[in-house]
Amino acid sequence: MNRSFFEALRSIYPDDRLLTRDVELLPYESDALTAFQTKPGAVALPIDEEEIIDTVRLCHRMKVPFVARGSGTSLSGGSLPIADGLMIGLNRLNRIKKIDPEQRIAVVEPGVINLHITEAVRQYGLYYAPDPSSQSICTIGGNIAFNSGGAHCLKYGMTSNHVLGMKVVLADGVVTQFGSESIEGVGIGPDLVGLFVGSEGLFGIALEITLRLMPTPQLYRTVMAAYDNLGRAGDAVSMVVASGLLPGAMEIMDRLAIKAAEASVGAGYPLDAEALLIVELEGEALQVEAEFAELRGVIEESGAFEIREAKDEDERARIWQGRKSAFSAVGRLSPDYIVQDGVVPRSRLGEALVKIGELKAQYQLDVANVFHAGDGNLHPLILYNGREPGALEKAEALAGEILAMCVDLGGSITGEHGVGMEKREYLPTMFSPVEMEIMRDLRRAIDPEEIANRGKMFPSGEAPALQMRGMHPLERQGVISRE
């Protein structure tokens, strides 16, 4: 970054909102994937959209790369700065500009924290549905970049399904607006909202976002069933689906995961089970009660040797606490492990589990399985002992094979954390050369200088792909779970 760029920046920002000293830049050098660190050339802290627009235009004119940053909680290195590039911190644009409960919409700035929206609209019996585990701190701008989701996304979708309209500044400084306050969003003409959401910050910066709000469910009903083999639990999921019910959440854990979870929080899981299935219904009270009666029937027929229903909110919380601490508990079984996040078609879960079983034997490593049976999102936890020479490499190789398997089975290399820095080398395993070329061309058509979030998502020869090593400590605490 040269002097004239700094001078131009200074004409946009007062001194206290343009960070240039080492001591101020250092804390920005990583997001939640600390394996990567790069000190940015400078950090700008805009407080309104005009400043953002001016900044992006300046970057475009002077060909300086920039990275937008919300709260820096990306787990894939998405908000890792660019050396000699500008970091644009959006956390001060945190105003909820409008709430219209009767239209069930809210208009927000990009730095608004996900949970703050629900807190602001709760009084109207509404909530903002996408619920990543990081919702107490991650921003809507970051959610948009990764199309973030959470536990309850099968029924109502991820971030993309809840954005109706947005105003953005594209990487070349062009400001544009699409979508509307209508539930139809764009409605007429190509759905640009759908294109922008999930673009990992490569297209530009979202300036103002119109969100859809949902009515808070009247009732939740949760049941837990134990099986003497994994296949049976899988079959039970098929039976639930075949019965025509649409649960809000369906989760399976295998024996190792159950054992660990039980040891950690004492959720009351049956220890002799090979597999545990949790199914939750949500919605209008009368309907949910009726559906639950049906669900009970299905589960009773499914060959479970033990069935337990949550009788109140406390019991429901306990069941979920167990599920959410499953990873943590696995930490009790092994000093180190790798968490993987891949997707397979739900009907091929069985196949995937068999394959993981084979890999496990082949590599002589233990693998615990926790997965969202509802959407085929797998979380194999590969256990190893980091002090044994070569163990980590072996575990990483196994993790890589699991990702490859997900692609082979027609699934995906990431369910929700995005590609970022972490998985960029894997992107071509999912897309054909033509598809890769088209995505690259699209990026260049929007950002000819490739200044927006340069180096992310697309593979590059410079840095090797990196695995997240071991479970996230928050997972270990049972506070978060990867949905």
């Binding site: 804390p27 600390t34 400590p473 928050l474 605490q477």
Partner: protein, 416 residues
């Protein structure tokens, strides 16, 4: 986070452990008042940890990082918010102490600091200094802002010294025996608090000993990183406490959490066992009383709407949230009202008013607004700093509500 911290300091292992545990997830940001106010990574817990790491790894100069560390309220809101169990408080105290040893403060700042060290912990000196107004006059030209804020904090006139009785007998069936700490500034500024606390305890069947000759517990000095001074005066209290007591009661939140950290302060000292013995007995007034079970007071003739403002050092550092509220809820004719965002620091935070007046002002103003929104007729808290800060900011907003210590309100409930 991985780190490259050399372990040549006694404190390094603790600091390294806290840093290692931090995974840079940012969950703590949502809880931090300075992050909320300033919106910069350096003014967040995650950022401060990263900066301390940077200093310890010799990547940046300590002086450069210091302003951001100084802006930390020490309110500990980030501690319960952290799912990874990072002991931010230990890290901060260790770090401050380490830096203090090698730090060159700007001249006037150093003078003010000396002043704090020399006067605040000693009730008599503090009284004298304030009475003469000499210090204020002497330093005002150099430190207008910091002192304006300190002088603002003071009542117009200090109350007359009111010596506490050495022993208050238990009334009715004896249910316990405790010692009451009557340390530093609080005793000079508001002697009625400890008196009320002693009376409430006695009314609850507790025999209260108030050993003479007590000094400050050292917490306030620890807070600004004056470790050896803190140790020196802390020691003076050890031999004063009777042996057969159930608890050492404090009515000052910051002192309570500071004394709980004596193990860290006395690490490597020969009298470590005495310190930890002492520290294990320390209990906040409300925690002890709630544990004992309140004898129902008479209550109030007319309904009182009371707002309880959490002191950071009770809520975040000691996890006391339901205890004081349950005490208040047992008072007939007392209606508890909720302050929105009660867990956010009021900006008093020990000597923070003195060190960071601008942020303290802002937080104080916000807090007063939040309290008023709850619509109470009385405000209580468990800490003198918070009480003074809240009173000041309510006054600034033209609202003259009574603001008192929870012990005072309880005593009033027994009397009426």
């Amino acid at each position: 986070m991985r780190h490259q911290i050399k372990s040549d300091d006694l404190r390094a292992p603790e600091m390294a452990e806290a840093i290692e545990k931090c995974v840079h997830c940012g969950f703590c940001l949502a809880a931090c008042p300075t992050y909320k106010l300033l919106g910069e990574e350096m003014d967040s817990p995650r950022g401060r940890i990263y900066l301390m790491k940077g200093v310890l790894e010799d990547r940046i100069e300590a002086d450069e990082a210091q302003p951001f560390i100084d802006r930390c309220l020490g309110c500990m809101a980030c501690v319960p918010a952290c799912p990874s169990g990072v002991a931010y408080g230990d890290l901060l105290v260790s770090y401050r102490t380490l830096q203090e040893q090698s730090r060159q403060r700007p001249l006037m700042d150093g003078v003010a600091r000396r002043l704090i060290i020399e006067t605040l912990p000693y009730p008599r000196r503090f009284r004298l200094a304030m009475k003469s107004g000499k210090i204020g006059r002497m330093l005002q030209p150099f430190l207008p802002e910091a002192f304006a804020s300190m002088l603002n904090m003071l009542p117009d006139k200090l109350p007359p010294p009111s010596p506490l009785p050495p022993i208050l007998p238990a009334q009715g069936e004896r249910r316990g025996k405790v010692a009451l700490l009557s340390g530093c500034v609080q005793q000079a500024l508001a002697p009625q608090i400890n008196l009320a606390a002693a009376r409430v305890l006695s009314a609850n069947g507790v025999e209260v000993h108030i050993p003479a000759g007590q000094s400050c517990c050292g917490s306030i000095l620890l807070h600004i990183g004056a470790e050896s001074e803190a140790r020196q005066i802390a020691r003076r209290n050890f031999p004063l406490m009777p042996d057969d007591i159930d608890a050492i009661i404090t009515t000052a939140a910051g002192c309570g959490s500071g004394m709980k950290d004596y193990e860290l302060l006395f690490k490597g000292q020969t009298d470590l066992h005495k310190a930890s013995d002492f520290s294990s007995k320390v209990k906040d007034f409300s925690a002890y009383l709630a544990g004992l079970g309140l004898r129902e007071p008479r209550g109030f003739a007319a309904e009182r709407a009371v707002a309880y403002q959490d002191a950071c050092h009770l809520l975040h550092a000691q996890g006391l949230q339901s205890e004081p509220r349950s005490l208040l809820n047992q008072v007939p004719n007392l209606r508890l009202v909720d302050i929105p965002d009660a867990g956010i620091c009021c900006g008093s935070a020990g000597t923070y008013n003195l060190d960071q007046p601008a942020i303290a002002e802002e937080l104080g103003g916000q807090k007063a607004g939040a309290i008023l929104a709850a619509g109470p007729d009385t405000v209580v808290s468990g800490n003198i700093g918070c009480i003074t800060q809240i009173r000041k900011h309510l006054d600034l907003q033209g609202k003259n509500l009574p603001v008192m210590h929870i012990a005072e309100l309880l005593w009033a409930a027994y009397q009426s």
